[in-house]
């Protein structure tokens, strides 16, 4: 039982990362109807940038805003320069461009910083506190930062005029344009914000999985799974989905282990993490493509 609680707690910590990546995916999906396959590599690249700035001698908490700003600008630039001209292109073109971006970021990171694994120090002080038997200080920090990010974004979209304009541009571009919202720039802003969220997720997860160009592959897959479980059109749902998937992942591994210990039959373990994500993605997509909290999409003839 102790172990089970432990597993759930660390599942929540992983879930925080999936949730923030899912959030970044949803922000782009809601405003442009695109699934950004390069999101994971963008986050990985931001994490590398942050590591580089820290190597130059800056503190993490100074480096992170700098990198977030850089990621924001890069996200806006990518949308304006690469994706904006494709807004009427078929889905395949957009997907191919995302794959192109993915390979570019992946290989650039490898070329600049080499493919060897680097350690990324945890930015959180090691403090003992209540419940520390279950969670390390970095994991608690991860969860707190994710929740902070979520509420920050919620407040931004709910209470600021710019947030309102962005929501309008996403929901009804035509009418938004008529009342003077610069829809194109709102989409670019959405991309920038998604890049920032990704950057935060990347720097938070880097101390856990270490820094290397491949670090985001499985995390992105779980981010997708989280976004789909919660509903890829609902930011709150995506965050919930991320946490759900994180806990689910750990529980499956836990019960797999338990089964092996008690009956000696190996069914599933840590080696099948990606397959679990694959199964979750396919099940959700086929049975309930709008997720738990998403809006049902309607196709008009």
């Amino acid at each position: 039982m102790e172990q089970l609680t432990q597993q759930i707690a660390s599942g929540l910590a992983n879930g925080a990362i999936y949730a923030s990546l899912a959030l970044a995916l949803v922000m782009i999906f809601v405003s442009t109807d695109h699934i950004n396959f390069a999101q994971g590599e963008m986050a990985m690249f931001s994490a590398y940038l942050c590591w580089q700035v820290m190597q130059w001698g800056l503190n993490f908490w100074i480096a992170l805003p700098l990198v977030a700003l850089g990621s924001f600008l890069a996200g806006v630039a990518i949308q304006r320069m690469i994706l904006q001209p494709l807004h009427n292109a078929p889905v395949l073109s957009v997907v191919v461009v995302f794959i192109g971006l993915l390979t570019i970021f992946h290989s650039l990171a490898g070329g600049i910083w080499s493919f060897t694994i680097k350690e990324f120090p945890s930015p959180f002080p090691k403090v003992a506190f209540a419940g520390s038997g279950y969670l390390g200080s970095h994991q608690v920090g991860m969860i707190l930062v994710t929740l902070l990010l979520l509420f920050g974004l919620y407040a931004f979209f709910r209470f600021t005029p710019l947030g309102l304009a962005m929501r309008a541009a996403a929901q009804n571009p035509g009418s938004a344009r008529l009342v003077g919202v610069r829809v194109d720039w709102m989409l670019a802003l959405g991309w920038g914000l998604a890049a920032v969220v990704g950057a935060v997720a990347g720097t938070m997860v880097a101390p856990v999985v270490y820094l290397e160009p491949n670090m985001m592959a499985s995390i992105l897959l779980y981010g997708f799974a989280g976004a789909l479980v919660g509903g890829i059109s609902s930011p709150g749902g995506a965050v919930a989905g991320g946490f759900i998937v994180g806990v689910l992942e750990n529980l499956i591994a836990y019960f797999g282990n338990l089964l092996e210990k008690t009956s000696g039959i190996y069914v599933i373990g840590n080696g099948e993490k990606l397959s679990v994500a694959l199964v979750i993605v396919i099940i959700v997509l086929t049975l309930k493509p709008d997720g738990l909290f998403g809006q049902v999409s309607i196709k008009r003839v």
Binding site: V96, V97, T103, G111, L285
Partner: protein, 349 residues
């Protein structure tokens, strides 16, 4: 079903994707290729290694053709065709390694296994469109190496170590090396498969596929059984890519889980996009491109880095990505599409 296209108005025009064929020069070219081992091999002009490269190009052309059938002609996006390539390769390798089958007998089995795998994956994929299907197949591609390493498969797949197999010697005491012989085999298989694909696309099935791609609702209303056709197309597409995988295993003499990483699926997609997504000649161009990049991109990128004095080591995949994005802007129908547009412009007075 027969009314999906109007034959009288459509027939003289080449099908979209340029299935316009000039049989005589294609046959001459193929005959030339088939004679290569006898001419080049004897005189020593073409090394065994070069034959291996040529065989690999043809193999990738078949794999790309599989993706073309699905994505180009039926409009279903797959980022996970490396998975079917892996199924085909492992089917062949396991049958040769464990059951001592001759290599040619494993090809139909690989085809069958991949058709079933593709059909089964295609069934849930029926409900998915565009980005969602891309997402599901993306997940498949990322998970493939892990699935291959699954513990209960290990007696067959030998886990991370992979399977070593041995190339067949040419029969009837033909004066050929095994690389030259395999080149002929691969070429023959490719000819049969491209011919079958062309006939498939020119039949009523092919028309139904294109109708489902261009006007899914209209095709449905006209009585095209969309779920049946889409799942079968997924199966056929997987079959093509799987046979390519089996051939790859046979001529490469080795399979291991890490040969089938996400990059393989990307390479197949890149080949399809570069060649031209809805074109049979495009599949050949794509196959040549994939193998050429794999072989020469490393040297090319090193040269570029050296001449431009880049402060970092440029990776081949960076060029891949940039080429992909530029191509989508400049030649969305790929090299094959670009060429036929060019030809049409030149012909016009």
């Amino acid at each position: 079903m027969a009314t999906t296209t109007n034959p009288t108005s459509q027939a003289p025009v080449a099908a979209p994707g340029g299935v316009a064929w000039r049989p005589w020069w294609i046959w001459i070219g193929l005959a030339g290729l088939a004679l290569l081992p006898f001419v080049g091999g004897k005189t020593g002009l073409i090394s065994n290694f070069a034959f291996l490269q040529l065989s690999l190009m043809i193999v990738y052309a078949i794999a790309v053709l599989g993706l073309n059938l699905l994505t180009g002609f039926n409009g279903q996006i797959s980022l996970g065709h490396g998975a079917f390539f892996a199924v085909g390769a492992y089917t062949a390798a396991i049958l040769i390694d464990q059951a001592n089958w001759p290599f040619w007998a494993t090809l139909p089995m690989a085809a069958l296994a991949c058709f079933v795998a593709g059909y089964l994956f295609g069934l849930p994929a029926l409900r998915l469109e565009g980005h969602y299907l891309a997402l599901a197949t993306f997940a498949l591609a990322v998970a493939v190496p892990q699935i291959l390493k699954y513990r209960h498969f290990e007696p067959f797949t030998k886990g991370v170590q992979g399977i070593n197999i041995f190339k067949a010697d040419p029969p009837f005491a033909l004066p050929l090396s095994s690389d030259q012989w395999m080149f002929l085999v691969v070429l023959a298989v490719a000819i049969v498969m491209f011919w079958a694909a062309r006939n498939l696309l020119d039949s009523r099935i092919g028309r139904a596929l294109r109708a489902l791609r261009d006007q899914p609702l209209a095709a449905d209303t006209m009585g095209v059984n969309s779920s049946h056709y889409k799942a079968v197309t997924f199966g056929i597409s997987a079959l093509y890519t799987g046979v390519a995988g089996a051939l790859h295993a046979i001529i490469f003499e080795f399979v291991s889980p890490d040969s089938f990483r996400f990059e393989l699926s990307i390479a197949i997609l890149v080949g399809a996009v570069v060649g031209g997504i809805a074109s049979l000649p495009g599949a050949v161009i794509g196959g040549v491109f994939v193998q050429a990049i794999e072989k020469y991109a490393d040297a090319l990128t090193k040269k570029i880095s050296a001449t431009v004095h880049l402060p970092l080591e440029l990776q081949p995949w960076t060029i891949y990505g940039i080429a992909l994005i530029i191509l989508i802007y400049t030649m969305p129908t790929g090299v094959a599409g670009g060429l036929s547009t060019l030809r049409r412009r030149l012909k016009r007075p």
